[in-house]
Point group: C2
Chain length 455, copies 2
């Protein structure tokens, strides 16, 4: 096969994720996000389309920067109401055999020991199909929801994250030897105690002294996803991430991000190709270009500008409620999400955009590229993105659920397969093995592998 | 129907829960606890037997009091390796329609905001079938695993718990009005912001200022389980618990516990019958008494004394590694689990037991009553327990999985039904409604109901 396109579906345990207002569409079912059946049907559909994974975003807190309150977010349903992302995974895993699950968890709000046990549990239950999207938070409302006055400072969050990772590597990789679980029914030995090592950690932000309570799961450390686009975020990804998600509106910005991420991997002693990079993309397809364009036009009748503004204000940490819609959107560094490397551009467009234009773009696919057309048109665009930017694949946002996924699977997947740039069946093994052809464990030179005891 | 017997299966996300060593039995499958199929099969079997719920215990930390290390626990597999209990619930919920799930979560290690969101998520996904067993921890190893030097003092743990409950009542009951989610597709209003109220809490141990991010689930507050047997624990149960689990080896001790718990409910302004009390019980059955006795004798050939001693030392906070086996077991108050009201008796037997005898009893069903016999014998014993002690039902431990459950469902359930003391079909509605015939929400005089905003 030529270079294989990797695909995640990009979703969140809520109705309104990256396209605001579309829950109003008569065919949309996303308001059923709080039922098991909704997620199980989605998982089956994604596996039918041979998706590598379902990437589940999350946010702790609500979008209350816009206008200084959560009113706009609540009214438009912008990422609120929202439920926990981890808990939908086991029921989806039961419906599938190969689909991977990238679960966002915010380390600022997850005590390492119980969090590490949760991820190990998921890795057991999915038989090695789980990933962790490492985030540190960006909403002050999330900090206030958990007893702080505001977010920890941006760069300090990454210092804490680095130590947190060291700690969970120790728990996942360093405690149990591979053959510690003996299950010797004759002697009654469940575990060989000599092969379970006490973890003692005393750092700047965390300390613990414990035996990790879970036996090793297929992958031990889940596949590590990350999405930081700041200077610190990219360095962190270079050292730790196996998959990186980027939100770039154009190929130009994407290709710059790709270079920086691959350079960061090399700087951390890894190979440039050790990180798979997924770019945000929204696809609206139909049997012809005209049909697809008509569909997008129809979708646009349901979008919510207010919801988009609530999201932009939350992401950027800047309140645009009283800004002039025709003013040029300028993002300045705040304590929220930073895009240090965007050369003055926003993640919503390559050129100077007014606030109104940016909001309009965000209503469909959060301002990422919206590819609209027949299967051939979509496949062309995806191929060009891969070739021109060096990304490995895409995080596909949805517009109207489930038709957004169903039409992609029915129309675009066969086209990609015909071109020999998409798999026709799943590879065997764990998620790490499927993505990298190696594993199931982290391997040198990834730093996590260094924490494993000699077996 | 005469007074209906309530039944929970008592389990934990590990192989060795309340009977040590039986994982070695040739027919036991409990070492598959880390697979989805194991739990899904159990859930189907419990629903076939019309069990009210699956009560999932948990522990944070490992049993390392015995001999000052985790060696004995690891070797015998005593509640280690262990995985997270919440994450098996969604897959079991997908396989069942009525079975309830009581999930243990230790509030010492769960930040209130993210925890409350998790329970709400579970309540949504199960359509109102979830309960929370409130625990505060007893192992110093759990505290050390989470960055403390040792457990918070016993009574302080209950002070913290009281404030934690107040806080989660505010989040679950006080933030969203019942009709806040409008889903008005015409106007584009997902949520009416005027019906979502900001929660501000500034207490001794917690503070937060937030909007709860999840829309109201069927029960809002999950059904509240509790198991404390100390003076503080019983008072806490009286004020908060809807179901209480007691571990009494004899009817005499059980009946004393029942009186204290019902008195505590009344002292908290509730009715004595507002709390359902479940006693620990282990059943070994067969078509005849002789067959059942033979089976128990066979099980005993696989039990682990070392595992039992590891558990007793962990529960009591006392190291019995160097104690004389023939010495009388005397429990003194420590910072671990306390049984202030046991009049000098242990939870393992009514009379003075040697350490060796206590350990032997703990190997099957943790020292609770072991009822062995034909379906008629078992039904007689259950009826006597109900009548003599005032408990409402039982938390049934398993011996050998799955036969422990399967035989109970095949043999004992029909006998209980014939006697008219067990349901022949599930009642409709949420777990709270099934258990109490009311709900789905907490109702006055339960204190949680007072936090609900007027609708």
């Amino acid at each position: 096969m030529a270079r294989e396109i990797r695909l995640n579906a990009f979703d969140m345990n809520c109705a309104v994720h990256q396209s605001t207002g579309l829950w109003r569409h008569p065919r949309d079912t996303s308001t059923a996000y709080n039922t098991l059946g909704y997620w199980q049907a989605l998982a089956r559909e994604l596996e039918r389309g041979l998706f590598d994974g379902l990437f589940l975003a999350d946010v702790v807190g609500v979008y209350d920067v816009y206008g200084g309150s959560a009113e706009a977010a609540l009214r438009s349903g912008a990422q609120v109401p929202i439920n926990d992302p981890m808990l939908i995974v086991p029921a989806m895993a039961a419906e599938t055999r190969h689909l991977g699950f990238g679960v966002t968890a915010n380390l600022s709000f997850e005590p390492p020991y119980t969090f590490a046990r949760r991820m190990t549990t998921l890795d057991h239950l999915t038989e090695g199909r789980v990933g962790w999207n490492i985030v540190t938070g960006y909403l002050d409302s999330g900090a206030r929801a958990t007893g702080k006055v505001k977010q920890t400072a941006h760069d300090t969050r990454y210092e804490i994250a680095a130590e947190y990772l060291e700690l969970v590597y120790k728990l996942w990789e360093g405690c149990w030897e591979d053959d510690a679980v003996t299950l010797d029914r004759e002697t009654g030995t469940y575990v060989d105690p000599d092969k379970v090592h006490r973890i003692q950690h005393k750092g700047e932000y965390f300390q613990l002294d414990t035996i990790f309570p879970s036996e090793p799961s297929p992958q031990r450390t889940p596949v590590l996803y990350q999405a930081g686009s700041s200077t610190r975020g990219v360095a962190f990804a270079g050292a730790n991430a196996e998959c990186v998600f980027i939100a770039a509106p154009t190929k130009l910005q994407a290709s710059k991000n790709v270079i920086r991420i691959r350079d960061a991997a090399v700087a951390a002693g890894r190979r440039a190709e050790d990180i798979l990079i997924f770019a945000i993309m929204t696809v609206v397809t139909g049997t012809t270009d005209a049909e697809a364009t008509e569909k997008l036009d129809e979708y646009r009748r349901f979008t919510s500008i207010e919801g988009a503004l609530a999201l932009i204000s939350g992401w950027s940490g800047m309140d645009f409620a009283n800004a002039e819609p025709e003013a040029i959107l300028k993002l300045v560094p705040t304590n929220a999400i930073r895009h240090d490397h965007n050369d003055g551009h926003t993640p919503y467009g390559d050129h100077n955009l007014t606030i109104a234009e940016a909001a309009k773009r965000v209503t469909i696919g959060a301002g990422g590229p919206v590819v609209t057309g027949s299967p051939a048109t979509v496949a062309d665009a995806m191929q060009e993105w891969i070739e021109d930017t060096g990304v490995d694949g895409f995080n596909l946002t949805y517009t109207v659920m489930p038709e957004s996924v169903t039409e992609f699977v029915d129309l675009v997947v066969p086209e990609l397969q015909r071109r020999g740039i998409y798999k026709t069946s799943y590879a065997p093994g764990t998620l790490r093995h499927k993505l990298f052809g190696s594993g199931p464990r982290l391997e040198t030179p990834h730093k996590g592998a260094a924490y494993r005891p000699p077996s």
